[in-house]
Amino acid sequence: MTVLGFLRDRASQSIRLIGHNKVALTGTIIIVGILLMILLADVIAPYDPEKQFTRLVPPCSEYLLGTDRLGRDVTSRLIYGGRASLMVAVVSVTIAMAVGVPIGLISGYFGKTLDNVLMRIMDVIFSLPALLLAITIVAILGPGLLNAAVAVGVSYVPRFARITRGPVMSVKERPYVEAARAIGASSRRIVFKYVLPNASSPIIIQTTLALSSAILAEAAISYLGLGVQPPTPSWGSMLNEAKLYLFIAPWLSISPGIAIVFTVLGLNLLGDGLRDVFDPRLRRRL
């Protein structure tokens, strides 16, 4: 069974299990709702996110969430802003996985000196708080959407390396891996066909949780003015622009925050739910 085939089987199995798990189901519904909102942005957004009307209109029937300092409709910017926020999150987690999972696999499967070297490098990255590291990387690369994604991605690499290494180390000692080795399978075949699929649950759980913290990180970096740059809306950069108008136009600071909370909440619920589904031993614990 290949990794893809395994994931397909696992996916249909998970969907069935998620259906029975209230926490995961709630999370899934929130996430699907938000994905639909940003994919159908062109249809459901009432106005063009960069079109200007009267400035600083409080929420009313015409502008549901009011207008900002340049007279742009906050509702529309919120809907389009989700695109940038989620894009940064998805790109950064993809980077973190693409680098971290192979490192974890190699480290866990081959062990010895290689493991030691790779894990010490991970420790070095881990010895800095993620947000601090991300801000430093942005400081070097310069502000921007893609750079913010790279910065967050790099700071999450050790998480994936560690979460992959552990299960790989235990799976590689199982009898079926020994059997595969006995019939002469190559290391590559063993790793991709037997080890990775059987070590994938924690990686899947970590992915949803990393997505949620990546959204928080993007928001923080953009709020500091180092991430997504105007006029492109993102939830973090909207909060940055709202900063100076906190007491004149508080509605500008409230709605992007609620959008972030909802998305992150959905991903956290999904992650917790998946953990219950994949790891029944932990079910009663959290």
Partner: protein
Amino acid sequence: MIPGDVVTLLLETSLALTPDQLLELKAMYGLDRPVFSQFVGWWASVLQGNLGVSFRTGLPVLGQILYTLPVTLELTLLAFIFSIAAGLAAGTVCAIKQNSKLDIGIRVFNVLGLSIPAFWLGIILILCLVYAGIYKVGYVSITADPIKNLMVMTPAAIVLGIDLTSLISRMNRASLLDVLRQDYIRTARAKGLPERLVLLKHALKNSLIPVVTLAGNEFGRLLGGAIIVEEVFSIPGVGRLLLRATYDRDYPLIQGIILVTAVSFVLLNLLVDLLYTYLDPRIRY
């Protein structure tokens, strides 16, 4: 280092210089040397206890960090104490009254606490406190006026500690539930110890081990989070210094702050490891 350097940045804001003067200025800051040579030079002086001089202000980097560090330490320590106190209390209540309404309420609160961006919570809190008339924007040093200082630091610390509180409360609930099922708890109850003693002396001390690990590992979260919370609450700590340095591309200052933070982070992890031996005498190093 793509987005320009401090010299070009200074030029945009102050008087125009001739190309010759520009080169001279770059040579003064060492920006004309290759990056590698700049880096080695920096390490050489760091080992002699010299973190260099800020490009922007001309002040020694170490002095600026040491000046702001106590502020950040006060903030993170307050947040840490708040997280531990609130997290342990909430988690313990949850474990004792498992599946009660209170338990479910606290767990919902925990998930929310992990989903709210700290800086946004800070913005909303400032908004509410100002409308309620009990908060004045502006930091006062603790030596000048401790009460005014705490009026600013307390809300900032609560905001900073909110996600750690949720994490600790979750972890404490899980680990206490585990411990309460152990045989030695049944023995303690069977020999007639009062429930309070069973809980405090037998259960909590054992359930604390994973909580200490978590709290120690996540202290870095506070250091990272302090950057943005300081910005929101206008607290002049290391975080704000780093942000100013980032905006100014003040590389010696950025390098110095990263170094100091990383070192304190590593020392902290060591402290946590040492704390284990007290909580669990079976562990020896």
